[in-house]
């Protein structure tokens, strides 16, 4: 198992190298003028100002040269200081966020991460549970009901659902507000004398600071977005679990397990579930990656300042540098997430550990 994980880790740099080439190729599809315009601060922008930027940053130099500079940075000839270079973690200046891209990602990530972490647990647990129940009660009420629910959830757009929820529980009942915290809680969280932001994830920090009032407030603000995200993804997990479980229950080794006199509970929960989990692990990993790399609609509707918002805003402003940084970050999460899925796969399926 250790060897298996090590092997996967060793491939990681190779994959990331490929990813940078792909992303850089995407950037090169834009001509130098398009890439330079945003950085001309005088309005109206003049052709000479644009040309100056192009020359200053060498935007019309040979592509390999630009690529290497993008990777390792640019050495200033006068001061001898190295500037930029994604290998040094310098992704450039984000015009949209008005701070370095790396910093922008690091400040927005906790919001997205919090949403993802709170969503993925309930999604997987309920999806797996209901999926199994539907499979073992094949064609009975719970099976039919969950199938209908899945179709409805799947075809019901998130933005309609999210807005409906907001109308009922915020405007109507005033139970569950949008945003990430109430104003009084924000005042506490942002005051370094009474509250330490260890992770910038509100719920986690609240627990670490022993502030249960802040924790409850954060949870209250999370309920709607988590619910809005979950119902759709839950349906997906549930359907995969159901069909995988149905298939597994028809396998010969299930007959063997029953012929040993094992109870139906052991047959299902041990012999069938572990096999049936494999496809769910795969889609679970992909779904989590999806949640981490931006849930645009949910973040916009509930006014959460996460990566999804940053992505939309920088796309609208044609902020190439920020977009590039976000894409690079997403691919990193993607590669890392897939590694995690591979490791989990090894845990569930001993046959994988060999290859």
């Amino acid at each position: 198992m250790t060897a298996y994980i090590l092997r996967r880790l060793l491939i990681l740099p190779v994959i990331m190298f490929g990813v940078t080439i792909l992303i850089f190729a995407m950037l090169m599809l834009l001509d130098p003028i398009e890439r330079a315009t945003l950085y001309v601060s005088d309005v109206p922008r003049t052709a000479t100002a644009v040309q100056k930027i192009i020359e200053k940053y060498g935007l019309n130099e040979p592509i390999p040269k630009q690529y290497i500079r993008w990777l390792v940075g640019n050495k200033d000839e006068v001061t001898g200081e190295i500037e930029g270079g994604i290998l040094r973690g310098e992704l450039g200046w984000s015009h949209t966020a008005q701070m370095p891209v790396t910093e922008a990602i690091m400040t927005k990530l906790p919001v997205t991460l919090e949403l993802a972490l709170w969503s993925i647990g309930p999604i997987m647990a309920s999806g797996i549970y209901v999926g199994i129940q539907a499979a073992v009660n094949h064609n009975k009420f719970i099976d039919q009901f969950s199938r209908v629910f899945a179709v409805v959830a799947w075809s019901f757009p998130t933005f309609v659902f999210a807005l409906l929820m907001l109308m009922i529980f915020y405007s109507g009942l005033d139970w569950l507000p949008p945003e990430s915290l109430s104003q009084w809680a924000k005042n506490i969280v942002w005051d370094p004398t009474v509250f330490t932001q260890y992770t910038k994830i509100n719920t986690v920090d609240a627990i670490l600071n022993w502030r249960w009032d802040v924790f409850l407030d954060a949870v209250k603000h999370l309920i709607l977005p988590v619910f809005g995200l979950s119902y759709l993804i839950f349906a997906q997990v549930m359907r995969v679990m159901r069909s995988s479980m149905l298939e597994t229950l028809r396998e010969d080794y299930i007959k063997t397990a029953r012929s040993k006199g094992l109870s139906e509970r052991v047959v299902r929960n041990l012999h069938a579930r572990k096999n049936a989990m494999l496809p769910v692990v795969t889609i679970g990993g992909l779904l989590f990656i999806g949640l981490l790399t931006g849930v645009v609609i949910t973040e916009t509707i509930y006014n959460l300042h996460g990566l999804g918002r940053l992505f939309v805003n920088s796309a609208a402003a044609f902020d190439v540098v920020t977009l590039l940084g976000l894409v690079l970050f997403s691919s990193f999460v993607m590669v890392g997430g897939n590694l995690l899925v591979d490791v989990l796969y090894g845990f569930f399926d001993p046959r994988v550990r060999l290859s």
Binding site: K255, T256, R258, S259, K260, G261, E264
Partner: protein
């Protein structure tokens, strides 16, 4: 034989499947007895109800769509079909164990071989982990797997097909069953491994004093290891008795055909290998008369109207055929 103790009495067993296409009459009015120490062969072609009859005895017919319509399976004086699921579970894997056709798919791929063997031991024998592990290792070496102790922690994919079937046998034997049901356990193995598995089961049967129900379509296997045989066709037993009687003087045209289609390596004549013309009937819906009638060379009008009952020819031979006195081996 010394003590002929009746251990299994199957009476009038009828199992049907209610599918969308119609009712499948998988096993019809099946009756036979088995004594302690017997090795009973159940032969017949694919889809004749051999496996369904075994699953009926084990109480493993998936329901729905399957349903045991009638009959009794009396095991040591107790009708298994009248037991509830919990009572039946104490018998399954403990008193009556089963091995299946395809060892490649019959072991759970994500659990170790040792775990799968120990599971039954812990369940039925009230043993602790340590004891069960020792017993599992002992069983693995009993079925001829070298370095059994180390192999307990292997997964099924570390084992070859033959070894997996050995492991399946070890699993089935783990609680010293009275009856071992072997459902075509050699069909998917190559010939040399087949012979090894047959010898293994034969030896273990002697050693452990089990009775074996060996389900197969391979008459060679039957002749080699069983003492009694049930010949099945379209869900019914059409001939049964001691293997010598049935194989030497078959009295049902179907049995004659089956035996006739065996290649004879010593034959000098260059006759073509015999095959029974036609196909077995569809088991959906009720069959009028004898199910073999449309393929039978001895057919008379009565065959198309009435199913012949099993008739006793002598103490060791029963046959269901209206024309049995005319039937002879060729």
């Amino acid at each position: 034989m010394e003590n002929r103790e009746r251990i299994l009495n199957v009476e009038n067993l009828t199992t049907r499947f209610y599918t969308e296409e119609g009712v499948v009459h998988a096993v019809e009015e099946m009756s036979y007895q088995m004594d302690k120490g017997d090795t009973l062969g159940v032969v017949g072609e694919s889809g004749c109800g051999k496996s369904v009859h075994a699953l009926s005895i084990m109480g493993l017919i998936p329901s729905p769509p399957g349903k045991i319509e009638a009959g009794k399976v009396v095991f040591f004086g107790q009708d298994l079909l009248s037991l509830n699921e919990n009572e039946m579970r104490k018998i399954r894997g403990n008193e009556i164990a089963m091995i299946f056709q395809d060892p490649m798919t019959s072991l759970n791929p994500v659990l170790t071989v040792g775990f799968q063997i120990m599971e039954a031991i812990k369940l039925h024998q009230n043993m602790g982990n340590k004891q069960a592990r020792d017993r599992a290792a002992e069983l693995l070496s009993l079925v001829g797997i070298p370095e059994a102790k180390q192999r307990l922690d292997d997964y099924p994919h570390h084992f070859s097909g033959g070894m997996r079937q050995r492991a399946m046998i070890a699993m089935a034997l783990s609680c010293n069953p009275t009856i071992l049901i072997a459902d075509e356990p050699t069909t998917s193995l190559d010939v040399t491994i087949q012979a090894q598995i047959i010898d293994l089961v034969n030896n273990l049967k002697e050693k452990l004093g089990m009775s074996v129900i060996w389900i197969t379509h391979d008459l060679g296997v039957i002749a080699r290891m069983v003492n009694r045989v049930n010949v099945m066709y379209a869900g019914r037993i059409i001939e049964k008795g001691s293997v010598n009687e049935v194989f030497d003087t078959p009295k049902n045209p179907y049995t004659v055909g089956l035996l006739g289609s065996l290649p004879n390596p010593e034959a000098t004549s260059k006759r073509r290998l015999y095959s029974i013309a036609g196909e077995p009937p569809d088991l959906i819906g009720k069959i009028q008369g004898c199910p073999f009638a449309n393929r039978c060379t001895f057919v008379i009008d009565r065959c198309l109207q009435e199913m012949p009952p099993l008739e006793k020819l002598n103490e060791n031979h029963e046959v269901a055929c209206w024309e049995s006195e005319k039937v002879e081996k060729f």
